[in-house]
C-alpha cells in the first residue's frame, strides 16, 4: 500500500510539473497533428487503410519518443534524481510513476490524434483503440526505463531512440496486426504479453539503472 502511495506522490509531482511548465504535452499534440496534416497532403488521394494504419503507428511511436525524451528532463536539469534515489522508498516507484505520467501525456495526445486520423484517413475501430492502450503501456514501460538509462549519458538525445526503436518493433508488429486483421485477439494477446514481460523486467532492474 505504501508503495502505491509513493507512486501516487511521484506521479502527481510529474503531472503538476507538466501542468506548470507545459513542456511536453503541447509538443506531442502539435507533432502528431503536424504529421497527419503533412501525410494528408503527401500521400496519394484515398490511400488504402493498410498504408494509413502504418502511418498511424509510426506517428504514435515518434510522438511517444518525444514525450519519453523529456520524461527525465526535470530530474536531469535540477539533479533531483539524487534526492529521489536517497528517499527510503522502493526505487522502482520512480519508474512506475514516471511511466504512468508519460502514459497520461501519450493518451492525452492520442485523444487528439485518433479523431484527426479518422478525419484525414480512415475510421478508427475498437480493435485499434484496444491496441493503442496496450501499445501505450509497453511504450511507456520500456521507454521510461531506457529514458532513465539515457539521461545519465552525454549522448542522451541520440541514445534513447537508438535503444528504444529496436525494442518497439514487437509493439509495432502487434499493434499494426491488431489494427488490420478481422480477428485481432492473437495480436492483442501478443501486446499484453509484451507489456507484462517488459514491465516486470523494467520494474525489477530499475534499481540498477539509477545507481551510479
Amino acid at each position: 500500500m505504501r508503495y502505491f502511495r509513493d507512486v501516487g506522490a511521484l506521479a502527481r509531482k510529474d503531472l503538476l510539473l507538466e501542468l506548470r511548465a507545459r513542456d511536453t504535452l503541447p509538443a506531442m499534440v502539435l507533432f502528431v497533428a503536424a504529421v497527419f496534416v503533412v501525410f494528408h497532403f503527401a500521400l496519394p488521394e484515398s490511400p488504402s487503410r493498410l498504408e494509413t494504419v502504418g502511418l498511424l503507428w509510426v506517428a504514435i511511436l515518434f510522438t511517444a519518443l518525444l514525450g519519453l525524451g523529456r520524461a527525465f528532463v526535470p530530474e536531469r536539469e535540477q539533479r533531483t534524481l539524487d534526492g529521489l534515489v536517497l528517499a527510503p522508498c522502493d526505487r522502482s516507484a520512480i519508474w512506475l510513476a514516471k511511466s504512468l505520467a508519460t502514459f497520461a501525456f501519450l493518451a492525452a495526445a492520442e485523444v487528439v490524434a485518433l479523431p484527426l486520423y479518422a478525419i484525414f484517413f480512415h475510421r478508427v475501430g475498437g480493435a485499434t483503440i484496444a491496441a493503442v492502450v496496450l501499445a501505450d503501456i509497453g511504450i511507456c514501460a520500456v521507454g521510461t526505463f531506457l529514458g532513465a538509462m539515457a539521461v545519465a549519458t552525454r549522448a542522451r538525445d541520440l541514445l534513447l531512440p537508438l535503444l528504444f526503436l529496436p525494442l518497439a518493433i514487437p509493439i509495432v508488429v502487434g499493434a499494426v496486426g491488431a489494427s488490420v486483421v478481422d480477428s485481432p485477439g492473437r495480436y492483442l494477446g501478443f501486446l499484453a504479453l509484451y507489456d507484462a514481460l517488459f514491465a516486470v523486467v523494467c520494474w525489477a532492474s530499475f534499481e540498477y539503472v539509477v545507481a551510479e
Binding site: 505504501r2 502511495r5 509513493d6 506522490a9 511521484l10 509531482k13 503538476l16 510539473l17 506548470r20 511548465a21 526535470p74 535540477q78 539533479r79 533531483t80 539524487d82 534526492g83 529521489l84 534515489v85 536517497l86 528517499a87 527510503p88 522508498c89 545507481a211 551510479e212
Partner: protein
C-alpha cells in the same frame, strides 16, 4: 557511523579519489577540506550512497532513509512551490506529522511567507535555505553536507550555525567546506584532501 578504508574512485582513466581512510563515530563532526578538484564532492556522494567506490570499502551504520544529503544542487523542483517540494519529500520519507514539521522548518528558515511561490522565483540564497529544510525534514541521523554555506547571506549562515550547534553531538556530520574556520566550534575532526 561511517568507516572508510582505502577509498578510491575513478571515472574512466581519471582518478578523483585515492586511499582515503577515516572513522566517523556516531555524534562526530568531520570537516572535509581541500582545493577544487580534490574529490570532496565525490567522497561525500560515496558516503551518502549516491556513488559506488571503485577501490576500497565504505561501511555505513545507517539506512538510506536516515541520511540527509545536501549537494551542490538543492535537489528541489523549480516549478513546484517550497511547500509542494517538501510535501513530496515528506511523503517519500513517510514523516509523521508532516505538515507541522514542514511548517516549523519553513518558519525557522524564513520561508513561510513565500511557501506558495515557485522555487524558480527564489534567489539562490532562498533556494539554499529550502535545500536545508529538505535535508532536515526527516530528522536524519547522518548529515552529509557539501558546501552548505554556499549562496547563504550572513543571516542565512547564522541560521545554519544555530542549526549545527543545536544538532551537534546528537547527529553525525560529514561536511565539506572552503571555510573551515567557521566550523572550528563544531568540528571533532578534519580530513584534508590533496589535489
Amino acid at each position: 557511523m561511517l568507516v572508510a578504508r582505502r577509498l578510491g574512485k575513478r571515472y574512466g582513466e581519471k582518478r578523483v579519489l585515492r586511499g582515503i581512510d577515516f572513522d566517523l563515530a556516531s555524534g562526530g563532526f568531520l570537516v572535509v577540506t581541500g582545493p577544487n578538484g580534490s574529490g570532496k564532492t565525490t567522497l561525500l556522494r560515496i558516503c551518502a550512497g549516491l556513488a559506488q567506490p571503485t577501490e576500497g570499502t565504505i561501511e555505513r551504520a545507517v539506512s538510506r532513509g536516515a541520511i540527509g544529503y545536501l549537494g551542490h544542487e538543492p535537489l528541489v523542483y523549480r516549478e513546484l512551490t517550497a511547500l509542494e517540494n517538501l510535501e513530496l519529500y515528506g511523503r517519500l520519507y513517510r514523516i509523521a506529522e508532516r505538515r507541522e514539521r514542514i511548517g516549523m522548518l519553513l518558519e525557522r528558515f524564513g520561508l513561510w511567507e513565500v511557501r506558495h511561490e515557485r522555487v524558480a522565483s527564489y534567489s539562490r540564497g532562498m533556494t539554499q535555505r529550502l535545500a536545508l529544510c529538505r535535508v532536515l525534514l526527516h530528522d536524519p541521523e547522518l548529515l552529509v553536507l557539501d558546501e552548505p554555506y554556499n549562496a547563504l547571506d550572513e543571516a542565512g549562515a547564522e541560521l545554519l550555525d544555530a542549526q549545527l550547534a543545536e544538532l551537534r553531538g546528537e547527529r553525525t556530520f560529514l561536511l565539506a567546506t572552503h571555510e573551515p574556520a567557521r566550523l572550528v566550534p563544531f568540528a571533532s575532526g578534519r580530513l584534508a584532501l590533496a589535489a
